[in-house]
């Protein structure tokens, strides 16, 4: 074939090149800074009132959400050890839209909380996190890939923003086949889960201090803290 100039235009960079460049310049928000706590149902109104006053969305009020989250695990093979590695992926979708089956989902990878030098001094849990918006076919995609549903739940509650911080106050329900987790008998506990999180590029540890300062303002209603699940006593329902 003749070599024509228009068949060999200037190179257009590949998307993997730009991802590599973004990783190198550290602009991808791939770390999650997290604090968690809980509050009894009887006191949640006081907390919501306080958050309404403290957070950015004062005039519009709290944003509500009603989501289903499914946690999938995929078994991978690791060359270094004989134990197969489990990779956890979470798919979250909104149930409060008119067509929940057709709305885009959120696919999320969260790593183990980072341990290492200086972790004790850190005010928040820091873990790697990758959030991707995906089409709803992701559920079938993951199932066919060999992923197994580990657990699923429905979360219904309020979301507040304060700068880069996101504060959610949510009620956790078991997933019931017909009621989609809004019936009182599907309640998991008599309390609300309170989470404060920020997604930021790695190395921005200063945000942890801001979060801690904000968490102080919610005391004594709720104690937001680093929760280490491995140290919690396991109770089997």
């Amino acid at each position: 074939m003749e070599s024509k100039e228009w068949l060999h235009p200037q190179a257009i960079g590949s998307s993997m090149d730009s991802l590599g460049a973004a990783l190198k310049s550290n602009i991808i928000p791939n770390k999650e800074y997290l604090l968690q706590g809980s509050i009894m149902d009887s006191s949640v109104e006081v907390l919501l009132h306080r958050l309404r006053g403290l957070c950015d969305n004062v005039d519009t009020g709290a944003e509500t959400f009603y989501d289903q989250e499914m946690c999938f695990s995929i078994r991978g093979s690791s060359s270094s050890s004989s134990m197969p590695q489990l990779l956890y992926l979470r798919v979250r979708r909104a149930l409060d839209s008119t067509m929940p089956q057709e709305m885009p989902c959120q696919l999320r990878y969260t790593g183990e909380p980072e341990l290492g030098t200086g972790d004790k001094a850190r005010p928040t849990i820091v873990r790697s996190s990758v959030d991707v918006a995906v089409t709803p076919s992701i559920l079938e995609y993951l199932t066919e890939l060999g992923a197994r549903i580990e657990f699923e739940y429905v979360a219904r509650g309020y979301m507040f923003r304060k700068g880069r911080m996101k504060i959610t106050v949510s009620k956790i329900f078991k997933v019931s086949r017909e009621g989609q987790g809004s019936r009182p008998e599907d309640l998991v506990s008599q309390s609300y889960l309170v989470e404060m999180s920020v997604l930021a590029p790695s190395g921005q540890d200063a945000i942890g201090e801001d979060m801690k300062a904000f968490a102080e303002q919610l005391k004594p209603l709720v104690h937001l803290d680093k929760i280490d699940y491995k140290r919690l006593p396991h109770t089997i329902p």
Binding site: W6, I12, S14, L87, L107, V130, S137
Partner: protein, 198 residues
């Protein structure tokens, strides 16, 4: 996305004329793909595709042997795939890279297909013709056929491509372009001889 596109591939190089008056060359184009296999089961293939036409999206197609499941995602899906390196193993990459021309509502993309790596293994030429004013293939097929035959000859592509035949009355989406690219990339990977148009 208002378009209907189809691809034609050729192994022995169509003798394209220089862009005629009226063709506007806008930018270079690129579609690439990387194949990944599940490390545990060789039956399933995961393809991750990018198209310069939709730079903020990543397309992934899982082929289980009996069916294909497409997913469209944000660009960070690439990062997730990198995290899944214990589950998926990268096998091969193939890309179509070339020029993009516009003529009224038509968009013509001519790409040379290569397998990057040692020696830039050239596989052939892929031609994509997109009619961007219509979303239902059935409504514009005859018009597209006339356009294609106008510069590729009348014995080219008399019936719609196999992929579109069952979807002629559906709304055309970017993933349909990607699925057609994947079909052709798979043929390029396997083939050694001349490829047919239909």
């Amino acid at each position: 996305m208002k378009n209907t596109a189809l691809q034609i591939s050729t192994k022995n190089g169509i003798n394209f004329r220089d862009p005629e008056e009226g063709f506007r060359r806008s930018k270079s184009t690129r579609t690439d793909i990387s194949f990944r296999d599940l490390s545990s089961s060789q039956q399933r293939t995961v393809d991750v595709l990018h198209n310069s036409e939709q730079p903020a999206s990543v397309f992934s197609i899982l082929d289980t042997g009996s069916k294909t499941i497409p997913v469209v995602a944000d660009t960070l899906f690439d990062l997730l795939v990198m995290k899944m390196n214990t589950v998926l193993q990268k096998r091969q990459k193939i890309e179509s890279r070339g020029s993009r021309f516009e003529l009224c509502d038509f968009c013509i993309k001519i790409g040379s297909v290569t397998v990057p790596g040692a020696g830039q293994n050239f596989k052939g030429v892929l031609l994509e013709i997109e009619y961007r004013a219509c979303v239902i293939p059935n409504y514009c097929w005859e018009f597209m056929k006339e356009f294609i035959q106008g510069f590729l000859g009348t014995n080219t592509l008399n019936v719609p491509p196999q992929y579109l035949q069952t979807r002629m009355n559906d709304v055309y989406q970017p993933i349909d372009t990607i699925q057609q690219y994947l079909e052709h990339f798979n043929m390029f990977r396997k083939s050694t001889g001349i490829m047919s148009y239909n």
